[in-house]
Amino acid sequence: MLLKNLLEHIGLEPGRLHFSWISSAEAAKFVEVANEVNQVVEELGPARFLVKRKARVA
């Protein structure tokens, strides 16, 4: 929670970071969560914040 709050505080879009607790017996939940995360993240589009591509240096 602290991490999520901090990340979102410094500007990570809500919905970029998810937490879930899925036991190995909860296949349906896994699918559900995976799809949901997928959907939310797709709506957000590609991540830019905190993603390093090529170092921005001289």
Binding site: M1, N5, L6, I10, H18, S20, A55, V57
Partner: protein, 316 residues
């Protein structure tokens, strides 16, 4: 707080002479105005070097880590809280320490003072009770200390040491307002995008000197994550993402342990308000775990323990 100096010298002399401690850690008057120099003495004869005023803001707890001898140390509220954390985290044992407690009326922000004189060079600083005087080449000004406190000191709820063997004076009142986290709340109210901009701009000046980390008594790992190479968690260039990653992780490693002593912010040569990161965590830790760091030897920081009723609303 100047008047503490004599008492510190006297106590240090006594402790060293009686062999209660092997070394005594305090401050020496600095060679530059509003900058004091941490000092360790062994000889009861050199206690005159010890000095105390409202510019002793580098956290002395830093100098305790891993010491094996018996140590006398002066400690304000926040330093004592860090000493508590140090003891809880096995960095020093209580029995090695003789803590000389300082009821603290706050440290002066040298940056604010310089700003107040329009960036002109200050050559002399003199503390006079609740006021202080600064003198430059062609000016002289007297200020109220309370107007120039470091921002963490201005909202300090624990100015008195929480652990000590001897106190230097009467306890002083702590801050009682309920807006300790007003600065964090202000940022919280911004939009996600604005916050992103706010923090990106904030750290754009960072030169990756790690003064904030090195001034922090919580940062005592033998190898810091920024120095690890297998894997290399964070790049070493001044790439903005790497810089942000560094600040983020540094702050997170302090989650639930930070006493908001302000050493990081004071140490930053670029004047970056790095406490914006840790203070958000402090606020959340207080809200989620009702916890403030370093108040007692009995409990470990909240991220070290699991409790059934830990907040889990974020887990799906």
């Amino acid at each position: 707080m100047l008047h503490y100096t004599e008492k510190i010298r006297e106590i240090a002399g006594r402790l060293l002479k009686q062999g209660v401690v092997d070394v005594f850690i305090g401050y020496r008057k600095g060679s530059v105005p509003m900058m004091n120099n941490p000092l360790l003495i062994r000889d009861p004869g050199s206690t005159d070097l010890l000095y105390w005023d409202s510019n002793c803001a580098l956290n002395l707890c830093n100098y305790l880590t891993g010491r094996k001898d018996r140590i006398g140390i002066v400690a304000t509220g926040c330093v004592s809280r860090n000493i508590v954390t140090h003891i809880v985290e096995n960095q020093i044992s209580r029995s090695q320490l003789y803590v000389v407690g300082i009821p603290c009326t706050g440290m002066i922000s040298h940056r604010a003072v310089i700003r107040a004189v329009g960036g002109r060079e200050i050559i002399e600083f003199e503390e006079q009770g609740e006021r202080f005087l600064v003198r430059g080449r062609d000016f002289e000004e007297i200020f109220e200390k309370n107007d120039f406190l470091q921002s963490n000191c201005a909202v300090c709820r624990y100015p008195n040491p929480v652990l000590y063997d001897e106190m230097l004076g009467e306890r002083v009142p702590g801050y009682e307002g309920d807006d300790v986290y007003r600065d964090v709340e202000k940022v919280e109210q911004m939009s996600s995008e604005d916050r992103r901009g706010f923090f990106s701009r904030m750290i754009s000046r960072c030169i990756r000197c790690y003064a904030c980390r090195d001034a922090c008594p919580l940062c005592y790992c033998p190898t810091c994550f920024v120095d690890e190479s297998r894997p290399q968690w964070v790049g070493k260039s001044i790439d903005p993402v790497d810089t942000m990653t560094f600040h983020l992780l540094r702050a997170f490693h302090c989650a639930g342990r930070c006493t908001d002593c302000g050493a990081c912010e004071r140490a930053c040569p670029m004047g970056i308000p790095v406490r914006q990161f840790t203070k958000k965590l402090n606020k959340d830790v207080q809200e989620l775990f009702s916890w403030e760091a370093g108040l007692g030897l009995e409990q470990r920081p909240p991220l070290d323990v699991y409790r059934q009723d830990d907040y889990d609303g974020f887990i799906r």
